[in-house]
């Protein structure tokens, strides 16, 4: 059993997992994700399509085996860090212990005074002691904190994966769209969004620079005492309220749909492009496809409204309604028209409490890499010989020959 635990926390297992992850990620990027059997059969062959669906290759990054590999990687990182913690504490404590100096990568003999070399290499104050033969020994250890680099990096990756996984499991995600003046419920929560304004900023050449929605989020949990928070959401600058983040996601055409029957107003509502609006007292629904405009004309001055009519779920017909005209397909009793064209705003609303954990993981990973790569442990020690000269030795597990060169250069220029 001990062997199994040791293997699960081993570097060998980590390498296997990393290679499998590389293959899985590459596969997931080459195979189109989320397609149906028919689409895969058309792209490849029926046999390959069956294989893709059977192995979960149509949704690689959420497949059970991909999650299992990730879980194993987390286990590996955790075990590795647990196993290495006491070793690192010991190594950190024993860094300047004469019995644990390790194999030197450089050795210089006949040095009259080691101090200038230590100073030139910016070594911290040396510990003065004696070696096993009782000779004076000076030991200096640089970047002791660098020992913790890989450990911190592993911890960071672990936090990152945990933050991501917990976020995926617990996050709430909603989409709300509408035109200024509308109040929309956020999913089935007690929260509502009141859209005050939607603005599209354009450059002089007409290119869109920014989309901005001004809104109020209302918490209606207590109907007698609703609370509200004003927010502004624009691209790259999400708004926030009640723990939700509100992202300016998209926009599209919208128009007011008015239905009159025998001259009497039957219904009046906003229709956003792509939405089907059921016509009261009929089996029909009307879908605004787009608002037609000529480029030179102002936004609120459309040349027509493209629409589709459905009977139940079945497509019935499509047509274009000109300004001031009525949609004829519903019969002479009905007067149906689109008007007041404008843009609707689409907001993505999210609540993910674990995003900060994932970002903290990313930063710890970065810190770990910085420690591991740029604060490498270096040891320099000098032992005094019987003739009064000193022998200097140095070691740097990751610097090796390059550190040896630096020590030699320091000695030559001292």
């Amino acid at each position: 059993m001990k062997k199994v635990w040791k293997f699960l926390g081993s570097m060998q297992f980590a390498i296997i997992l990393l290679v499998v992850l590389i293959l899985a990620c590459a596969g997931g990027s080459f195979i189109p994700q989320g397609h149906s059997y028919e689409q895969y059969a058309e792209l490849y062959s029926e046999r390959t399509a069956g294989l893709i669906l059977g192995l979960g290759l149509d949704d690689v990054f959420h497949a059970w085996w991909f999650l299992l590999i990730t879980a194993f990687l987390c286990g590996n990182l955790l075990l590795c860090n647990l196993i290495r913690l006491p070793q690192l504490l010991r190594r950190s404590k024993q860094a300047d212990d004469p019995a644990h100096l390790g194999a030197p990568c450089v050795e210089l003999e006949g040095i009259r005074d080691p101090e200038p070399i230590f100073a030139r290499l910016h070594m911290p104050k040396a510990r003065e002691t004696t070696d096993e033969a009782g000779r004076p020994l000076r030991i200096s250890v640089q970047n002791r904190v660098g020992l913790w680099g890989a450990w911190a990096c592993h911890l960071g990756i672990l936090l990152l994966i945990l933050g991501f996984a917990l976020g995926q499991m617990t996050k709430e995600e909603y989409t709300v769209y509408g035109v200024p003046g509308e109040i929309k419920q956020i999913g089935e929560t007690s929260y509502f969004v009141k859209i005050h304004d939607f603005r599209v900023d354009r450059s002089e050449s007409g290119f869109v620079e920014q989309y901005t929605t001004s809104l109020t989020v209302i918490d209606n949990a207590d109907e007698n005492d609703p609370m509200s928070v004003d927010a502004v959401a624009s691209v790259n600058h999400p708004g926030s309220a009640f723990g939700f983040k509100l992202y300016q996601n998209s926009m599209g055409d919208a128009a007011k749909l008015t239905v009159r029957k025998d001259g009497k107003l039957l219904q009046e509502s906003w229709a956003c492009a792509g939405d089907s609006v059921p016509i009261l007292e009929t089996p029909l629904s009307l879908r605004l496809q787009s608002v037609l405009r000529e480029e030179a004309e102002e936004e609120r001055n459309p040349t027509g409204y493209a629409y589709m009519i459905f009977v139940g779920e079945e497509f019935y017909t499509m047509n274009v309604q000109g300004p001031g005209e009525s949609i004829p397909e519903l019969g002479p009793n009905y007067e149906v028209s689109f008007s007041e064209a404008q843009s609707y705003t689409l907001l993505q609303i999210k609540r993910d409490r674990f995003t900060p954990l994932a970002f903290a993981g990313g930063l710890v990973t970065l810190l770990g890499l910085l420690l591991a790569f740029y604060l490498q442990v270096r040891k320099l020690w000098a032992v005094q010989n019987e003739d009064g000269t000193w022998t200097i030795r140095g070691s740097s597990p990751k610097g090796g020959a390059l550190y040896a060169d630096r020590v030699k250069e320091a000695a030559a220029s001292s």
Binding site: M11, Q12, A14, I15, L18, V19, L21, I22, C25, A26, G28, S29, F30, Q33, F61, F164, S203, S205, F207, V208, E209, Q210, Y211, S234, V235, N236, H237, P238, K245, Y247, N249, Q348, K350, T355, A358, F359, G362, L363, T365, L366, L369, L370, A372, F373, Y374, K398, G399, G400, A401, L402, D405
Partner: protein, 274 residues
């Protein structure tokens, strides 16, 4: 503004000529075995880098934004990054042979840039972010560093096959040192790639509401990160140093190039502009 873009255009072609001249002088250095030629090559490359920097600044001011938002701009910046990192390594390790192998890669990259559209387009709202500079500039340094590790890997593999041992012993560090320099460039690249991924995630969270979407560019950045993570682990676990590490460094850069060019060509996603 148009004037500045015209200046950038002129500078761009001068830079290509300078990088080409530097490459020729580096080749002459190897052929003639004269140190003075290597110095001249490095000076030409450094002048090329300065003018390249000026070209990027002109484009930045002319376009009114950071010049890092389309294929042309990223390719020319990538060449700039590789040129910068290779010059740093040449100076730091007194190793001009790097230039002879880096110069053709720089020329290929800037040649690729020359084939792209240079049109200055206005930025879509999601690209109008202060994270753009951090995210792309760190990617340029990361890719440049991996480019240097690729060059060092090739030098390592060629070193043993070279007939004139005297020249190679004098101008190319010993195997162990060469391996360590390559390791250093991978470390620099991995550190900057991590910054690229982290800053990209923070930016994606603000722009798209999701810090990780398994978009092909994101996925392949992760694949590149994992490949170099395997490299680092193999160095420790199996003592994969020397030749094996050199082959790995070359293979790793193939992965970098796929992330940069291959993904845009074969796997379109939300990073289609990059």
């Amino acid at each position: 503004m148009t004037n500045l873009l015209n200046i950038e255009n002129t500078l761009f072609y001068i830079v290509i000529c300078l990088y080409f001249a530097a490459m020729i002088f580096y080749f002459l250095f190897i052929a003639l075995k004269k140190d003075g030629v290597a110095k001249l090559a490095a000076i030409i490359q450094a002048v090329g880098l300065l003018l390249h920097t000026a070209a990027l600044i002109c484009r930045g001011i002319g376009a009114g934004r950071l010049p890092m938002t389309n294929q042309y701009e990223f390719a020319t910046s990538f060449a700039w990054g590789l040129c910068l990192v290779s010059l740093i390594f040449i100076a730091r390790f007194k190793f001009p042979v790097i230039g002879a192998f880096a110069a053709p890669v720089i020329l290929l990259l800037i040649g690729y840039a020359a084939m792209q559209s240079k049109e200055v387009k206005e930025l879509m709202p999601s690209l109008r972010s202060s994270w753009l500079g951090f995210h792309v500039s760190t990617a340029i340094i990361a890719y440049g560093s991996f480019g240097v590790s690729f060059v060092l890997g090739i030098i390592f593999l060629l070193r043993e096959k070279m007939q004139d041992k005297g020249f190679w012993d004098r101008h190319v560090p010993a195997r162990e040192k060469l391996d360590l320099i390559s390791y250093r460039s991978v470390c620099l690249g991995l550190l900057f790639l991590t910054v690229t991924i982290v800053t990209g995630a923070i930016w994606a969270e603000q722009a798209w509401g999701s810090y990780w979407s398994w978009d092909p560019k994101e996925t392949w950045s992760l694949v590149t990160w994992l490949v170099y993570a395997v490299y680092l682990h193999l160095r420790i676990r199996r003592d994969w140093k020397g030749k094996a590490a050199a082959i790995f460094a070359v293979a790793g850069f193939v992965c970098v190039m796929f992330t940069y060019i291959g993904v845009n060509t074969f796997l379109p996603g939300i990073h289609s502009y990059a």
